[in-house]
Subunit: 386 residues, 2 copies
Amino acid sequence: MPRHPQVSPAVAAIPGSVYSSLAGRLAALQAAGEEVFPLHVGDTWMEPPEGCRMEDLTVAEYPGMHRYSSPHGLPALVAALAERTTARTGCRTVPSEILLAAGATGALGAVVGAIVAPGEEVLITAPFWPLVSGIVRSFHGVPVHVPFYREADSPEAALEIVARHRTPATVALYVNTPNNPTGRVLERPIVEALAEWARREGLWILADEVYEDYSWGGPHTWTRPLAPERTFSAHSFSKAYGMAGNRCGWVVGPAAAMRDVRKISTHTFYCAPTAAQIAGLRCLQGPGDAWVATARESYRTVGEAAARRLGVAPPGGSTFLFLDVADRLDERGLGGLLEDCAERGLFVAPGPSFGPFPTAIRLCYTAAPPEVVLRGVEALAEVLGR
Amino acid sequence: MPRHPQVSPAVAAIPGSVYSSLAGRLAALQAAGEEVFPLHVGDTWMEPPEGCRMEDLTVAEYPGMHRYSSPHGLPALVAALAERTTARTGCRTVPSEILLAAGATGALGAVVGAIVAPGEEVLITAPFWPLVSGIVRSFHGVPVHVPFYREADSPEAALEIVARHRTPATVALYVNTPNNPTGRVLERPIVEALAEWARREGLWILADEVYEDYSWGGPHTWTRPLAPERTFSAHSFSKAYGMAGNRCGWVVGPAAAMRDVRKISTHTFYCAPTAAQIAGLRCLQGPGDAWVATARESYRTVGEAAARRLGVAPPGGSTFLFLDVADRLDERGLGGLLEDCAERGLFVAPGPSFGPFPTAIRLCYTAAPPEVVLRGVEALAEVLGR
């Protein structure tokens, strides 16, 4: 039983870092002074709004700002988010329904820790954000990968797909719109059908909406108003305002269950960083909206240009293109294609990180300034012969 | 099986916030302009060293400082910590043995997630830091509370105690020196005996050493050099440099297992906050040591004065006094005594948060400036009739 030097069997099923094999290669090119196109990570090249950066947060203005915040979150920020959530989604939201977290990652981890018992299953619509599968495994749940975003072209098709994967062990459905990596924005009738199905089936819903501000293929549909009694929606200052390194996101869910979610968050990261929360509050109360408006146009423009050059449909939202490259794979497989990219300084993420997609790649068109991204896209077009 | 609106059975066994019932009371007194003595939280009143505050970290000097760091940690900080760990502990330490985390809480959570399977037991020497028990439960392990710090007065006694609680399901031993809440600094022969016992028994060791810089009852003994193949030691910028709100700590452990620990950290908080890591690096390379020297003298002076006034032995380390108040409890029990304290604006933490200690209280003598702490101690002395 006690098994030093072995670890927990569950951890063996979790993949290690998706990008670590690329990191050394990237660093070597940079050290050699070569231009690189690091489009494999989901991040933004833009600095956060002025007034909302760490350098703007002084001890004189915020004495004690390096001390713990409440595990729940700074009361002023919780209140501001409750008000904003009510205004945006039309679903009346109160502070007890909100938790500030170590990014949306910490938020979703705390939810999974609270609602999933060992061996229970979470339906994960795919292609999916690479971390969600490992989050479920970290708490000893079973992620069930459900190819969805490229197949579910109607509410009926959506329901047929999720129902086919549901078992007696299913406790929750994970939905992500706008979607990372496909860029798909789910149409309202589909989100409505999924919420209604989850209600009928007695399932929790994990609604990953961190790209809610970056939807241009159609309006973003908030899931929580459709089933507030069972939906946990995850949101992020990282994606909205270029603050990924701040590690601050939040989750909104039913108050009774949120008490249990807070138990897990308290025991996995205690509280969201205090300075990050102050920065978030300043964003909400000040330049956040203007920053988003600028970022949105910039992202959309480069995303559409990249899609045009690569001969694929323009992205509906989020900050990614997900390309099938089966026609360009040789006997070296996907690894060979990634290698050809890396030789040109271009780094993209491999399809298998996002589910059963052995012939796909993901490119983040906001990870570098537009002109750099477009040079990287040229390199990719060359590799793909497009 | 699917059980909305129920949550995971494991989460029910985790206590909610220890302090939330006091928070409202405290806020009301503050709003009424009353002086309060919030000595229930483990934190410091001191601001971090100048040059290491958020306001000191500019985008001009650190472009991209609001973006993700590597999930492993900023390479320069990892390297600096490896070097420092080698120098301090005499145990040669390399970057692959280190992980930056969302505080020591996130660090210990990632370790527990990696090494404990559902139902397996962790021996938790008590009185203990309140969160460690919930950390084990969050990952579906079983915390076994082992009254230790007030009983283990020799290596033989220490071994007898831990051996009595070991079962076939035991996978790890949690040891915390300097100890929160008792202030005890474990003597080297005891730490050596525990390390040797863990090796004989095939157990992992979780060495919580976040108060390593605050030991004056005797020298701090690092556990890892005694059993590097099985020890994960947790450390914290929070406690060392007054940066609890930054959420940045680190863990050092055997490289092979650290790969698995990083899998859990990636999926519970992704990376430590980037700005917090830069602040930590500046601390290590600059004013950190001087700040610690000042804090140590200040903490020691106020801790000894508080102990003297309350008629207990001076603390050996950490930042707490743990008092037995059985002689002053009336029919209202411990709650009545906490109430009497709160009426005087004084907040202390209840003994049951730290294990089976129904007649104890914990006071943090660094949570407010010394003169405020000492007025709070006067209030407590009055309640206790000392």
